[in-house]
Amino acid sequence: MSLLFERTRPLAFGSRIDRLRDLFLRSPIAGPLATLVVVFVLLSFVPNFLTLRSVAGIVNAATLTGFIAVGVTLLMIAGEFDLSVGSIMAMAGYVFGFHVVAGGSPWVGLLLALLVAGTMGLINGLILVRTGIPSFLITLGTQFMYTGVLWFYSRSQMLQITEDLPAFAILNGRITWLSTWLPGANFRTAFLWLVLLVIIMQVVLVRTRFGNHVFATGGNKAAAAAQGVLVHRIKLACFVISGMCAGLAGVMLFAQFKTVRIATGAGQELQAIAAAVVGGTLLSGGSGSIVGALIGVLLISMLRTGVVLTDIISADNFTAVVGVTIVGAAILNNVIRQRR
């Protein structure tokens, strides 16, 4: 844990309970983790919720948004938004899919998809640093522009293949030995890649110069620049990383469903931002964590499953629950932040 987070102050003296409470309160993911546990405990009274099958379903449904949320969260900490991640995800899915359909190596396809996705992120970033227009507005525009390009590139067609490639199993396949050993544990490999990505990005964020400069750029751009931080370069790098994370989501999607549509990824940008905020990242930048974003996507996915299982409101109306969670989590995070 100490590699992933920094102690903001030494442990309180006193009883073990005091120390534990202190350890918890000063962790940046205290709020999100508490919310996750409370929601989990509450939902565990719902019939069929506390089964391996349902837990695996929650995790699998959260995975693709999880990749996007990693990049979006990093970008939000740097003080910027990317609303075009959904269209980047779809584009990367097509780039990967077309390459594989044409008989190319899936690994080369993966690299090509990441290259295209990174370039799309770079375009967002370049428009930002050249014009200074808020990234919220820029990426609202590029979202539609990228989808427009995709209409041409995809020849307005959905892409689908039937062939199963070994690479798909590595990227986002079933972990068969686990589900034969534990029936219902239908986890997929992509979640392991996501966990790996989350750990790497979290370490980069809190343990490297780059991460320090990301926090500084989002926290006070002018102060960071005055200390020699190359704030434009930091923002560009975050946009490229955000694009590549969305690209990974597109590739993982294709490896799982073997299909991609133009509308793939629509709405993902807001889910990712919601996950980031639920995970304790400030909308105003300068503070947040990648681990929190992972907790955020899991929490939202868990609520979706809970809504479906309880059948109190229609499953299609689950976004109402997401709305309540976002506001609730934001309030809770605020309370904990002030206590710290």
Binding site: E6, R207, T208, G211, H213, G286
Partner: protein, 257 residues
């Protein structure tokens, strides 16, 4: 009127002017800044103080004129270059990142790293220890024992923030420290601290440029007073050569020289 130079100036500005379109912000300023002295730069709003400082810190190039740093002619083209020369500026609000810890702010842009294999990681332990030691060194006792250097800067008072920024400039071997309105938003007790750390920085041999509206703070801390009015330098006096009333009269233009 011109003070006798104690040694070679750290910074000499020669006939510096800056125009923005038809507006003349700074006109023909020639002055010298010396090590181990606090030079106050006073003047009313719009007198040209800020523009002059921005020229010195590489934010704007001068329209005409030449800057000499330690005797050598220089063209300061960016804030980064100014900092590399050893010119550090402590701005009222722009100095620190409130959400980041004191130690992370202290080393921002100059973080020590540990190399593990092909990767370079922040050396957080060194950052924390050195920050605490450096702040203790210039007399900021609050941070001794490595206790609060991990607290976010946002938890510090205004005076403490200024102090951390001053401590940072001293630690990284600045030769010129520019304090832009360091006391304007502070309580009396906080102001005392900042004036004290300003003295400490001077005793360590830094050339300090102290920009302020507050004549009594200027009188207490400065060794020299440079007055600007309408973009021109109108007076340059040493400590003891004039009273607070004289200084105020020079700023408002009631007195010409």
């Amino acid at each position: 009127m011109s003070p006798s130079p104690p040694s070679e100036p750290v910074i000499a500005m020669e006939n510096i002017s800056r125009r923005f379109g038809s507006i003349v912000a700074v006109e023909g300023v020639t002055l010298a800044i010396y090590a181990g002295e606090v030079t106050a730069l006073v003047g009313d709003n719009g007198a040209g103080k800020s523009t002059l400082i921005k020229i010195l810190t590489g934010v704007y190039p001068p329209t005409t004129g030449q800057i000499y740093f330690k005797g050598k002619p220089v063209q300061i083209t960016s804030p980064r270059m100014a900092r590399d020369l050893g010119i550090e500026t402590v701005y009222q609000d722009l100095a620190l990142v409130p959400l980041m810890s004191v130690a992370r702010n202290f080393f921002l842009g100059r973080e020590p790293v540990k190399t593990i294999g092909p990767f370079r990681f922040l050396d957080l332990k060194t950052m924390q220890e050195r920050t605490a030691a450096a702040l203790r060194d210039i007399g900021i006792e609050k941070f001794s024992g490595g206790r609060s250097v991990n607290e976010p800067v946002g938890k510090l008072s205004g005076g403490e923030r200024q102090s951390v920024a001053i401590g940072r400039a001293v630690y990284f071997g600045a030769s010129v420290l520019i304090l832009d309105e360091p006391t304007s938003a502070l309580s009396v007790a906080e102001t005392e601290k900042v004036l004290y750390y300003t003295q400490r920085a001077k005793e360590r041999g830094l050339a300090v440029i102290f920009i302020s509206h507050n004549m009594s703070h200027v009188m207490r801390v400065a060794d020299r007073y440079i007055v600007m009015r309408h973009g021109r330098q109108v007076a340059d006096y040493r400590k003891g050569e004039l009273t607070e009333q004289d200084l105020a009269a020079l700023v408002t233009g009631e007195r010409e020289q």
